[in-house]
Structures are given as structure tokens and as C-alpha cells.
Amino acid sequence: MMRLPSPAALPRVGLSQGERRKSEPLSLRERGRGEGGIWPALHRALQHVERAFDLAFGQRLNPWRHLGALCFWCFWIVAATGICVYAAFDTSVSGAYASVERITQNAWPLGGIARSLHRYASDALVVIVLAHLAREWIAGHARGFRWFSWLSGLPLLWLLYLSGIGGYWLVWDRLAQFSLIATAEWLDWLPFFGEPLVRNFIAGESVTDRFFSLLIFLHIGIPLLLLTGMWVHIQRISRPQTNPPQAIALGFLIALLVLAISRPALSGAPADLATAPAALDLDWLYLGIHPLLYAASAGALWVLIGGATVLLALLPWLPPLPRPLAARVDLANCNGCGRCFADCPYAAVTLQPRTDSKSLPRQAIVDADLCAGCGICAGACPSSTPFRSVEALVTGIDMPQQPIDALRLELERAIASLKGDTRIVVFGCDSGTDIGSLAASDTAALKLICTGMLPPSFVEYALRAGIDGVLVTGCRYGDCEFRLGNRWIEERLAAAREPHLRPAVPIERVRIAWAGPTDAEALSAELVRFRAALATLPIAAGAGHVRPKRAEVAHG
């Protein structure tokens, strides 16, 4: 395959070099991971891990791409098993331990399994939440327009910790005693309490039934706050995925059940405030903070935890990122159809009553503060069709940094310049594999901000102009930088979503190959296979009907 001299960065027409530099979509580097250093290495490592999981689960069922939904799933398991355990729990200080023992010994139907599942699902929630946080951080999603999702997730860490640790206290065994006293000693460092909290646990008689009622109230109330916080956390995205695919949900449930049955959660000896526990089988996922208290000091632990919280809270603005250019609505070409509203992954587009004289009820409005600048709305717009016989293709909603008209111009140039027996146009995105390396004399590579920005009519346009095949690529499925891009384009090309690829288009000449930043070789191989498959097809009827309209483009 002959390569073009410098295909690494495909130019985008329509903007001057200076404008492009200023307004190009945020690259991985720009999203705050720095040039070189640890961030690109971490991102590559994460990509490799996810690719390894793809081998086992496939791209669509890879748990790494459903971590948020898995958090919800674990929460529901914890809630359901918690209700089951609570039904048989004695909320008195003298009866709590014995009732948990009865539950564990299956006095309550399946009580032991419910208790174990309650505990292990809570632990799984911690692991998944931390993985979710780390993944989004590594992917650069702590910053820029995603600040709300990041910041609203932060209190959830504290609420999760408080929800979990309270459950350990209710068992009222040696572990509960240790955790309660350690927590009180930690809290007493704060200058809020006149009387030290820990004095409540100096002697056995100081712990009362009323105190246990308070613990129960907290152990139910805080998870409800956590759920409310989770709801707030997903408010800035449209179509949030709160249920994982059934296969993963079932897989996690079975795995946790196996753990619960094979290694039941057990209580320690009953709490005895006259003695101090010597060695403890600690749940490090929730109680690991206590050894830090005794290894350092309460003040040092507050500095550590408080500092980490403040640092996480400031991450979106360290340093501030320039806002991506927001989509712009051209009212003259907007008929208020609502497709951009339906497809926007960040609920940045709303439909409002018409403000011009057209006899149409609605128009699209873009909230620039919410807009990610992904261009998915432009791909959804029915007026983004290159077949329109206008000199300048102005669409109802468009991206200033890569207008649809510029994309048509670029496509026409590519079509005119391609040579060879099997000519292919590849549409890719900024966040997936760098398709620049695929460009050759018989292959044009057109980069979009997001593949979801591609109107299906561009595929038909290329094929009708005589191109033999169109390869659509982008981030791995479910890993779209802008959440829904590869889902929408798949549905559009499968005629399951508007705007759809027309049935007359020979679908065998269109191929989708999702490829992440580390999949360049795999994508090259896919292109070779696609070319071979195209070579076996008969010449398509209708090919060559469309010709570039402007002579300067054809010659350019």
C-alpha cells in the first residue's frame, strides 16, 4: 500500500491554521494529561487492559465500559439484601449481636447468604467506584465541560464510606467496637464536639438502645442520600446507563453469590468495652482508614483525607481548560425536528418555541455551557446532507471548528484524488485510532471530532460518487469519548435511527470497525480484509452518479 508523504495529521478545511489551533476539539493532551509523562502511559495501559478484557467479554459487554452502571447494580443488590437482613435484625444493643448471629446461622431464610451478599456487594461497590473514578481520571474526564459530573461524584465517596462503615457497627462485635472507637477518636480531633464522642464508648453501660436506633437511622438514611447523590451525578448526561447489560449483571451477581456461599461473612466475638481487641480481621476496603489513624495521628489523617478530597474537588480546574467551541444553530435551516435534541449525549440541546417567522413550532437551542463540542448533533441534522445543491452547505446545527460544508469539501477532494482499483474512504474520529496512517493513493482518511458526527448521507454520497467502499471507525464500542457516538452511527447505518442510511445503499460496501488508540494494526488489517471483500463484489449500480460540483475542488 502506497502511503502519502505525511499523513499523520489530516487537515480540516474551512478554518485557518490559527483558528484551527484555537478551536480544534480537545485532544487527549489538551484534556489535561500533559505532554509526555505519566498520563499518556496510564492511558495506554488502561487501553491495553480494556483490550484484554475485550477478548473475554467482547467490546459491548466489557465491564470496564459499564462501571457506572455496575455501581448502580451493586447498590441495588446491597439495598435488597439489606432489607432482607433488616427484617430479622434486633435494634437493641443487647440483641443486635445475637440477631446477626441468628441471621448468619440461617434462622431467617437464606439469612446467611443475604448477609454475606450484603457485605460483599458493598465491598464490590467500593472496588467498582474506585475503578470508575480512576478510569475517568485517566481518560481526562475530570476536567472541562465534565466538571459537574466529576464534582458531584465526590460527595458520593464520603457517603459510600459512611454507608458502609455504619453497617459494621450494627453487628456490635469486636470489629464494630474497634471501628466505632477509632471513628470517634478520629472525629474528636475536630473542634466541633464539646464533649469527646469517644467518652460514649468508655464503658459498656454508656452504649444504649437509643444509640443503636440512631445507628440504624444513619445506616438507612445515608444510603438514601447516596442514591439521591447518584441521581444528581448523572443529571448532566442524557440517556445515562444505570443498568448494566444483563449478561454482566448476571455474571457479577453469580460471582458474588459464589463468594457469599463459599466464604460466608461472620461476626467476631461480641463487643466488650472492658477489653481492647488485639488482632482483627479487618475489611480493608471500608475500615482500612483506622490503621492509618493509629499509625499516624488523627490530625495527620484529617490532613491526608481532607487534602485528597480538596485535591479531587479542584481537579477540574487544575489548570482550567478552554471550552470547546459549542454547536451553533442556523435558524434558517433548522426545522425543529428534534433529532439533535434526541442524540445530544450531554443534554446541551433543547427545543424551544420558534423565535422567527417560520410556521414551525420549535427550534433547537444549544446551551454552550453544557455543549461538549462533539458534533453528534450535526450528524443527526437532516439538513446535513451533501446532496443538497447549494454552493455552501449550511446545516441546521453545525460545528464551527469542523463545519459540515468543510467535510463535504474534504470528501469531494478526497474522491477526486483517489486512484486505484478499490478506492476506500475511511471516516474516523479524533479519539480512536489515528486514521492518518491509513491514507494512501486508494484510501482517503477523513477525521471527525466524533464518528457520531457523520451524517449517513455522506456514506451514500461517497459510494454514488464511485468510491468502492466506506469504512467507519472510531473509539471502541462503548468507549466513545462522547459517550454515544458509536452507538448512534451504528443505528443510523442500520436504518434503526434517524437520519438513516437509505435502503438503496449497498450495505456490503459499508463496514464499521471500532478501534481505540492502541488498535492501529488491527484497523489496518481490517482495512485490508475490507478491500479484499470489496474486490469480490460486482460493480455497484448507480456508482459515479454524483460528481463533485465545483471544478476547483475536482482539480484541487
Binding site: 478484557f53 477478548l55 473475554a56 467479554f57 467482547g58 457485605r119 460483599y120 465491598d123 464490590a124 472496588v127 474497634f178 477518636e185 474528636d188 464539646g194 464533649e195 469527646p196 469517644v198 467518652r199 468508655i202 464503658a203 455474571g251 457479577f252 453469580i254 460471582a255 458474588l256 459464589v258 463468594l259 466464604r263 461473612a265 468495652l273 472492658a274 477489653t275 481492647a276 481487641p277 488485639a278 488482632a279 482483627l280 480481621d281 479487618l282 475489611d283 480493608w284 476496603l285 483506622h290 490503621p291 493509629y294
Partner: protein
């Protein structure tokens, strides 16, 4: 990858996930207190005496006040900090100067300290100062047999003015 192999790989990954959870839910074991040690906790809440004694206002001072504010006796609210020393087998264990609580420093001084000590028989002496002069005006001592893991709480009863040793 063949389907059977994929399912096998999934099972391995799920197993690895729950193995991590199963392990860290109870391990590694944390040694909070060495097996041959006991714990002494010093914990009390006690208000020291007022820093300045109550005094009678002079007629001139009273005259300057509004008629409804002319109380003859005035008592400054601030209390002295409570100083406490605990000695274990003639070796100092705790020495705490606890400031009174409250913005006006008129509340109780509270103390909480913990210290692991070797198990065995110990002689514990305690003395406390809650007067403006700073002298130790309260004292107590006890000889206790502390078994491994036992907690001895040293409290101070402000009503009786005596130390309470609870084990």
C-alpha cells in the same frame, strides 16, 4: 477467540474479582494491640475553678451600669485549664493541660488519651490541678493487675473530687 474459551476467560476474571474482594474483606490481619499489652485510657470532663474570684462591685462601678444591670457581685466566666499527670510505675505516662471549652473559656475541660502498656501489675498515680494557683490539689493512686487486652479507664469525678480507676 472461541466461545468456550471466552466463557472460561470470563469465569477466570470474575473469580479474580471476587477473590480480591473476598481477601481484602478480612485480610491481612491487623494487630491493633500486641498480645502482651493492655490499654490505659485517661478520659474525663471536668470544669476547673474560675480564673478570677467573684468580687463586689464598687458604688462607682454600679453607678455606671444601667439600673437593671446593677448586680452587686460580678464573677468573671473564664475558668482555669485543668492540668493532669498520670504516672505509671514512677514513670510519667500522661501530662495534659486541657483548656476550658467554649468561646468564653467557661466550659469544662475534656481529656482523652490512650496508651498501650505491658500487661502485668502496675502502680498508677494520678494528680490533677483545677485551681488558679496551678498546684495539684487532687490526687489518687491504685495498684492494678492488667491482663493482656484489658482496658483501664482513669476518670475523674468532679462531684467527689476523686479519681476513678475502672478496669
Amino acid at each position: 477467540m472461541p466461545k468456550a474459551l471466552r466463557y472460561l476467560a470470563q469465569a477466570v476474571l470474575y473469580a479474580a474479582f471476587v477473590a480480591v474482594i473476598g481477601y481484602f474483606s478480612t485480610a491481612p490481619r491487623y494487630e491493633h494491640l500486641p498480645a502482651d499489652e493492655a490499654l490505659i485510657k485517661l478520659s474525663f470532663s471536668h470544669a476547673g475553678e474560675r480564673k478570677e474570684a467573684c468580687r463586689e462591685r464598687t458604688p462607682e462601678e454600679l453607678a455606671k451600669l444601667a439600673p437593671n444591670m446593677r448586680a452587686q457581685t460580678v464573677c468573671p466566666r473564664e475558668r482555669v485549664p485543668v492540668r493532669v499527670e498520670i504516672v505509671l510505675d514512677d514513670q510519667p505516662l500522661f501530662h495534659v493541660l486541657a483548656a476550658p471549652s467554649g468561646l468564653a473559656k467557661d466550659g469544662a475541660s475534656t481529656v482523652y488519651r490512650r496508651a498501650p502498656v505491658p500487661a502485668g501489675t502496675h502502680r498508677i498515680g494520678a494528680r490533677l490541678s483545677d485551681v488558679p494557683s496551678g498546684e495539684f490539689n487532687r490526687a489518687g493512686d491504685v495498684t492494678v493487675e492488667l491482663k493482656p487486652g484489658h482496658v483501664l479507664v482513669i476518670d475523674f469525678d468532679g462531684q467527689t473530687g476523686k479519681f476513678v480507676f475502672r478496669s
